[in-house]
């Protein structure tokens, strides 16, 4: 496998041919914000927060899943990129309808942090009906509050590739999409043990440890 030369934000860097733009940026000290990406795992590219501008490309491309090519010129923080990221975060916030006010861990919400980094205010998009799901706390290890879920698929990926359990999938489609386990049933303690890996990866607080009363 050969190396290729790319230019990221004016910095020349030589990386392996199989690298993604995100990895190349890391190699030369350029930070690209990510949200749904888990380093070392297969990229899903669903959140679009990591989009960048590539010279000669008509559209912005997701840096976590786009491989580099020889002579590629990438800009990671142009006005066009920043404007796109703002709307992307705003759209995700629109679907993030959980009860954050009463959540003691809300400050750890990566979506809120990202919104504050990009100065995204209250979303201006209205929804026909909020995505509401009752909190599932039947499992002693994982509490699921799917109203907060923004479908980044990190838990699906972590359960499959890190925990190697593969208990979660995306079910339904469009507005009704949600993370399902089994036959869309609450996670039972028989199948889901206390590995807590999905909780570590959940950026929004949709998955958390149950509060002991």
């Amino acid at each position: 496998m050969g190396n290729v030369n790319v230019i990221i934000d004016g910095k020349k860097v030589k990386v392996k041919e199989s690298s993604t733009i995100l990895e190349a940026a890391e190699a030369c000290g350029v930070t690209i914000p990510t949200f749904c990406h888990i380093k070392g795992l297969l990229p899903t590219g669903v959140c679009r927060v990591c989009v960048v501008e590539v010279q000669g490309s008509r559209t912005l491309v997701g840096s976590c899943h786009t491989p580099v090519s020889e002579g590629m010129v990438v800009s990671t923080h142009t006005p066009r990129v920043v404007a796109a990221r703002k709307v992307i975060v705003e759209l995700m916030l629109t679907g993030h309808t959980g009860d954050c006010v009463n959540d003691p861990n809300a400050e750890n919400c990566k979506l809120h942090n990202l919104a504050s980094d990009y100065q995204v205010g209250a979303p201006r998009f209205s929804v026909r009906a909020p995505r509401f799901f009752p909190v599932e706390d039947s499992n002693p290890y994982v509490r699921r509050d799917l109203s907060k879920c923004v479908l980044c698929r990190k838990c699906v990926k972590a359960c499959r590739e890190v925990a190697r359990k593969d208990l979660l999938s995306i079910g339904y489609r469009g507005f009704r999409s949600k993370v399902v386990s089994g036959y869309d049933e609450p996670l039972t303690a028989e199948v889901c043990r206390d590995c807590l890996i999905c909780i570590e990866h959940c950026p929004t607080g949709a998955l958390s440890r149950p509060v002991k009363v």
């Binding site: 208990l167 979660l168 999938s169 079910g171 339904y172 399902v180 089994g182 869309d184």
Partner: protein, 146 residues
């Protein structure tokens, strides 16, 4: 794990999943937990993945459905030809909302995306039979014939 691999019969996990789901749904009104569990075993996938695929498709029902599934097209061409009037009449005749099943288990009503019968708009499917050029007045007769 090894018996799981054998069950896949040489293919990738999930190979042949959609044809299997289609086959099952042609014999039953909906895909029960037991059905999906057995398909999961045969295709080497976890139940949640099989459910994820099935629930994505409007024609692979995962919720208990009535004997006859009415799928009214809710897309633009049908809407312009007063699909709403047709839906309203079906709701009135059966006394149910879209997504519901009549108490006698005879009909389930669903509003779906384009069914490819725009030339006969407004159109609906009852099971596999297409009814086109609908009017609110024609609904009662069609439902009676089922």
């Amino acid at each position: 794990m090894s018996d799981k691999k054998e069950a896949v019969a040489g293919g990738q996990p999930g190979a042949g999943l959609l044809p299997r789901l289609k086959e099952e749904v042609s014999q039953k009104t909906y895909l029960s937990r037991e059905t999906l569990q057995s398909i999961a075993g045969q295709t080497g996938l976890p139940l949640n993945s099989v459910y994820g695929v099935a629930s994505f498709y409007a024609y692979l029902p995962v919720a208990a459905a009535g004997k006859n599934i009415i799928r009214v097209c809710g897309c633009l061409p049908c809407d312009l030809k007063d699909a709403q009037g047709v839906i309203g009449r079906i709701k009135k005749e059966l006394g149910i909302e879209p997504g519901q099943t009549t108490p006698d288990g005879k009909f389930t009503l669903e509003v779906v995306g384009c069914i490819g019968a725009c030339d006969q708009a407004p159109a609906m499917l009852i099971n596999d039979t297409l009814y086109g050029n609908l009017t609110a007045e024609s609904i009662a007769g069609i439902l009676k014939s089922c």
